[in-house]
Amino acid sequence: MRKVLIANRGEIAVRIIRACRALGLATVAVCAEPDRDALYARLADECVPLPGAAAQDTYLHVGRMLEAARRSGADAVHPGYGFLAESPEFATAVRDAGRVWVGPPAAVITRLGDKIEARHLAEASGIPVVPGYDAPEASDAALGEAAARLGFPVMIKAAAGGGGRGMRRVGSPDDLPDALRSARREALAAFGRDALLLERDIDEARHIEVQVLADGAGEVWALGERECSIQRRHQKILEESPSPFITPELRPRLERAAVAVARAAGYVNAGTVEFLVDAERRFYFLEVNTRLQVEHPVTEAVTGLDLVAWQLRIAGGDRLPADGARTHALRGCAIECRVSAEDPAQGFRPTPGPIVTLVEPHAPGVRVDSGLRAGWRVPVEYDPMLSKVIAYGETREAAIARMDDALGRYVILGCRTNLEFLRAIVRHDAFRRGETTTRFLERYLGGWSGDAASPALAVGAVLAVLQPGGGAARRAARGQDGRDTGWDPWDGLGPWRSGVSRE
């Protein structure tokens, strides 16, 4: 393994490039048209341009990815997360093309990618699953009877699901037929399969996941848990490790359950076993994510391991040290916030735009995994996630304090982001108390709209006063065609010359 093609974009492509570099591996990026000038495309040793912009024609196109690998001479493919990361077809095609797939075997992806099969596998390993109904290819009538038995509210999930698609929470029997119909439609469009299963809706549940790392020789590590309960529409926004809710007694039981599922599946490489934990701290298996997770850095922070480097090493045939369970004892606490180009004050509408000014925070215990650079325009075509801030501290309080400071100093000008909203989460008393349930955002920050009379606005008003002519000069500077000519409020303050020396 000498040259790795990264079949992804954005911050995770940057993350993988850095891991490859540290291991002495050359990197090949692929970039669709809107990503030609992206940070990752410029950082990689080579970049293969893909024609078009739509994900289907580029980052989801198996044929073009393989062609890029062939043309560049890459002998391995890292899929990152999302896009083709959990596609058994892609994993198979990469292997068939004689290249190393940085991920679990295609057969494992297929088996665990089916939520019904994954539930059966967990049950067979003696792991509790969420009470539900998971007959293969169940009819609407069978699902209806099962829902009546389980009781409402009930969760509908797509067997092939992921990312919240095909997922519905149904509150009453009257709503079930419509919900089943629309869930089937959505699942078919997203995954090409409309098989559904039901799970009881567990109130006040927490989403807890255990990171596993497995080598090709049967060594499987569980690397503690991540708390991922703070979500909006089944999308995670903030994650932390360890969970403030998981006790020292429960943690090893979760880890043993995760290892049992991984072993039963013949898992190799990095993966994540997801659980729901109810208010009485009973846990239930949910699913396995057969890839690197967005939130992997919090585990890296508390274990000291480089998970992406281990993915590459395991794919290259390296073994985990047999005494590993002793070397990665969890220490401290880490929190991750996902920075996105979206406006939480306006229904989280996406806010693509140019990055005019970028200042990312650096401090002890603060890590920023970012795909940004000043001068780049956040494209409209892809996911709005821009970067992640990870803060580590010896205690949860210390990690929160560092996160608060880091979010406050993260400057992205020209493109609106959710940074202020993220800071409102970590500053909230309920978050500080560890009340991190799936209901957190609706309960505490529903209808959040920021501070309309902030000191930032006051400073803006003073800048307008200091610069005579303000708005008129601004419009004149924009030119007759409305195009921006690079006017800056400071320019209006007068003709400055730099480097004046005194006589």
Binding site: V356, C415, A452, L457, V459, V462, P468, R478
Partner: protein, 172 residues
């Protein structure tokens, strides 16, 4: 006092800007924000508010100005700026202000001098950058408030200009 109207997503916000000694005082609705402002470089200033100092950074993208201060990014357009309205109190528009804190290195005029538009009046220097304050229009110098070597705060009134041919006001 100057009024500035900022246009945000949620509508327009009227800001009343005034000075209290070296502080800026901005009233937005029922809220008053009081702070000091010291420019550091183009697009960056140190802002002391509530006993804490943060860097403010701003930039323009499209129609909007983006200004970041302590975790909050305001995105706005300047819809109306008091200085350009041509009304308000008599001295409005006649005050010449130091754009940032620094030292006065040159004073070219005296009270009562007649000046032409664009004529250099004073020079303020800070951080190895010098700023020439010029007459915004033809007129008479009504007052010079600084002398060479004096330190001034950003926004301080350094001189006043009256109408052409107008008499300087009587000395206090």
């Amino acid at each position: 006092m100057s009024e500035v109207l900022l246009r945000l997503d949620g509508g327009e916000v009227l800001c009343e800007v005034s000075r209290a000694g070296e502080d800026w005082v901005v009233r937005i609705g029922s809220r008053t924000v009081r702070f000091r402002l010291a420019a550091l470089e183009p697009g960056v200033a140190a802002v002391e508010v509530g006993g804490r100092t943060h860097l403010a950074r701003w930039a323009v993208a499209g129609a909007e100005t983006y200004l970041h201060l302590d975790g909050v990014t305001a995105a706005y357009e300047v819809a109306r700026n008091g200085a350009q309205r041509g009304r308000g109190d008599a001295s409005d528009g006649n005050d010449l202000r130091a754009p940032m804190p620094g030292s006065v290195t040159q004073v070219h005029v005296h009270r009562g001098d007649t000046v032409t538009r664009g004529q250099p009046l004073l020079v303020v220097e800070a951080m190895k950058m010098e700023h020439v304050i010029r007459a915004p229009r033809a007129g008479t110098v009504r007052a010079v408030h600084v002398r060479v070597g004096q330190r001034v705060e950003g926004g301080a009134v350094v001189a006043e200009i009256g109408a052409p041919g107008g008499d300087p006001p009587p000395s206090p």
